[in-house]
């Protein structure tokens, strides 16, 4: 808990606040200022927009603990604001709302647009409002409403709202109630336990991947086909070539349970799940399928690895063709936009090689989380694994 002093709609507030509580929740839950709406809660939809020191900001990704001394204005605090009054009237006239969920954020942004860009036309207003989503698709009415107020202010001197004072309203808000700033810390009970992995079973059904990321790679390993084929039939060897991955249960050779830690910048996830191995010796090919869930973020990954082997030269070497297809869903895909840091693959190959060398010398290697998601990494490591395995052999 941190003791934080804020000014909210002109009133001084001191409260003990958990650092993890965001401003939107603090305003709604602790101060009962429910005009601020929470939509996406990750800074995308704009519904929770409030003024911090006079300038609009998303309250869902602002933390009161980090706002010591800040002046916060919510829609309640604009009850007597002249521009907000004009906007309320215009939203009524132009039918600028349907369900009303986005409206508080729209009004907050609209006031800023009118002050900062008086006389702004439709194009400028649409540009400025692009960060506020209306799911009733009522943009036409909203934009017309803002345009009519902005037109009335045409010729006025633009006001940079950052750092401006907003006159407190006379509106009697729930802020007259005592502040519920005494939430009890539950440190001891809250120890986070990751959700249990979904039970793996041999008859997991795999749906077709929808619009997966695909990549292929061809490489040669200096070993006879039979040896390479054998490695692909052993889940523990395939899994062992992924940094951060390990089997979580003994495998029967046809199905497996595994987990893999991945790290992308400040994001970290541990996927736990299961997979199957199918091989067709007649065509020297096979498919390894897997799917997993990151219990913390509820991100899901599904992947297919298709491999095809061919003997080379006099049979002392083997050509390997591998295709990876994967789809990532949930928060991790959203934040990383499905990106793959392809150039990291090379450096992760080195981590992998180190792990392998350690394993070969009998020293258990520290299993570091891989520093990226995806198939490029896997391909690079798979290639490195085979090259090193058979070079050493």
């Amino acid at each position: 808990m941190s003791l934080v002093n804020l000014t909210v709609n002109g009133r001084a507030i001191s409260a003990n606040i958990e650092p993890r509580q965001h401003l939107g929740d603090f305003l709604r839950e602790n101060l009962l200022l429910t005009a601020t709406h929470l939509g996406c809660e990750h800074g995308v939809c704009g519904a929770c927009t409030v003024l911090i020191d006079g300038a609009p900001a998303r309250s869902c990704i602002a933390f009161p603990a980090a706002l010591e001394g800040a002046r916060i204005t919510t829609l309640e605090g604009l009850a007597d604001d002249p521009v907000a009054a004009e906007l309320r009237e215009a939203f009524t006239v132009e039918h600028g709302l349907q369900c009303g969920f986005c409206t508080p954020g729209m009004l907050m942004m609209a006031r800023d647009i009118v002050l900062r860009r008086p006389g702004a036309g439709e194009e400028a207003i649409r540009h400025e409002l692009a960060g506020n989503l209306c799911r009733c698709t009522g943009y036409v009415g909203i934009v017309r409403a803002v345009e009519s107020v902005a037109a009335r202010h045409a010729g006025a001197a633009p006001v940079v709202t950052r750092g401006t004072e907003v006159a407190p309203s006379a509106f009697v808000s729930p802020l007259t109630l005592p502040v519920a700033g005494t939430l009890v810390s539950k440190q001891a009970q809250d120890a986070v336990t990751p959700k249990a992995a979904p039970a793996a079973s041999a008859d997991i059904s795999f749906e077709t991947l929808h619009n997966p990321v695909r990549m292929t790679q061809h490489f040669e390993v200096p070993a006879p086909l039979g040896e390479v084929w054998n490695v692909f039939q052993q889940p523990e060897k395939v899994v062992a070539c992924l940094p951060g991955a390990r089997l979580t249960a003994p495998t029967d050779g046809r199905s497996f349970e595994a987990e893999m830690g991945v790290k992308l910048g400040p994001m970290a996830a541990t996927f736990r799940g299961a997979g199957t191995i199918m091989a067709d010796e007649a065509t020297l090919s096979g498919i390894i399928r897997g799917q997993g869930v990151d219990g913390r973020s509820a991100s899901r990954v599904r992947a297919e690895l298709t491999y095809r082997l061919a003997p080379l030269q006099d049979g002392s070497a083997t050509a390997v063709a591998v295709e990876i297809a994967y789809e990532l869903k949930g928060p991790l895909a959203q934040m990383s936009r499905g990106t793959i840091a392809r150039d990291l693959a090379g450096r992760l190959t080195e981590i992998f090689a180190a792990n392998l060398a350690a394993a070969l010398t009998g020293v258990p290697a520290a299993s570091k989380p891989a520093a990226l998601d995806g198939g490029a990494l896997f391909l690079a490591m798979l290639k490195g694994f085979f090259l090193r395995l058979f070079r050493r052999g």
């Binding site: 993890r20 509580q21 900001a57 960060g131 950052r162 910048g265 400040p266 970290a268 928060p331």
Partner: protein
């Protein structure tokens, strides 16, 4: 969509901040406009946040004859509004005004954007093209880096544990420098799907093309290479973009637009 528990520290000065970051699990917090969503989605679960966004050392701006040194915690909105000096004849305010949305620009910082190292963010591509020098600081001492050396991949930098970006030095452009910048977004304010920046500054002997939104490190072409389509194609192939014909076309179009903008648009430095 609630962040996991973390401790919050607001150190009084830079030295205290660097000491605090040395403690286990400490992450620097600047404007929090990228870290905030990751905290709420629980993709990032730092044990502690060390607030560097209000440190005086990171909030100062120093104008020099050869450019401007911005503190890392100068916000996009401050640059957009001209609240700080601009050595680029309007390039920096124009770029700032195109970042996300005003509500984000009011809090997001230039240094935070660089440290987050999103390949599709505006500052890394722009500052790489402008030849900015990034000032880094740690308890062991300061060092300097160029953007292409700082950002080695998506969300991946050469910042050491306990090291932060303290400032960004943007060199002053020549009066007849030319600039082109294009990005392709599905929606205003969204992260770009392709972006390119071109700086041609003959008196300083600079002709530079930087391509961003690559999903990996930035592509930097210099000199005659910037107009050579074979070199461009090879570079795109090198980072896997050529594999998708639609994406490769988008990147080529964005580069062509930025190059043609740089033929005509003089900066007013």
């Amino acid at each position: 969509m609630k962040a996991a528990r973390f401790d919050y520290h607001r150190p009084a000065d830079l030295t205290a901040a660097l000491t605090g970051l040395g403690a286990a699990g400490g992450k620097p917090l600047s404007g929090g406009q990228s870290l905030g969503p990751m905290l709420n989605l629980r993709l990032a679960r730092p044990a502690a946040l060390v607030d560097v966004g209000r440190l005086a050392e990171l909030r100062r701006v120093e104008e020099r004859a050869d450019g401007v040194l911005y503190g890392a915690a100068i916000t996009h909105a401050e640059i957009e509004d001209g609240a700080v000096p601009d050595p680029t004849g309007g390039i920096l305010p124009a770029i700032a005004s195109g970042i996300a949305y005003r509500a984000v620009r009011n809090r997001g910082t230039m240094g935070g954007s660089l440290a987050h190292a999103d390949p599709a963010a505006d500052w890394p591509t722009t500052l790489a093209a402008l030849g900015a020098i990034i000032h880094l600081t740690a308890l062991t001492g300061p060092r300097e880096s160029r953007v292409p050396d700082l950002i080695r991949g998506a969300f991946d930098t050469t910042l050491e544990e306990g090291e932060i970006i303290s400032g960004i030095f943007v060199p002053r452009l020549s009066p007849d420098a030319r600039w082109g910048y294009r990005k392709s977004c599905r929606k205003v304010g969204e992260f770009a799907e392709a972006m390119a920046a071109v700086l041609i500054d003959p008196p300083r002997n600079i002709a530079r093309l930087v391509i961003g939104a690559t999903e990996t490190r930035h592509l930097v072409l210099e000199g005659r290479d910037i107009e050579d389509s074979a070199v461009l194609d090879a570079a795109l192939a090198g980072i896997g973009i050529a594999a998708d014909p639609a994406r490769a076309r988008l990147f080529r179009a964005v580069v062509a637009d930025a190059l043609s903008a740089a033929q005509t648009s003089h900066v007013s430095a």
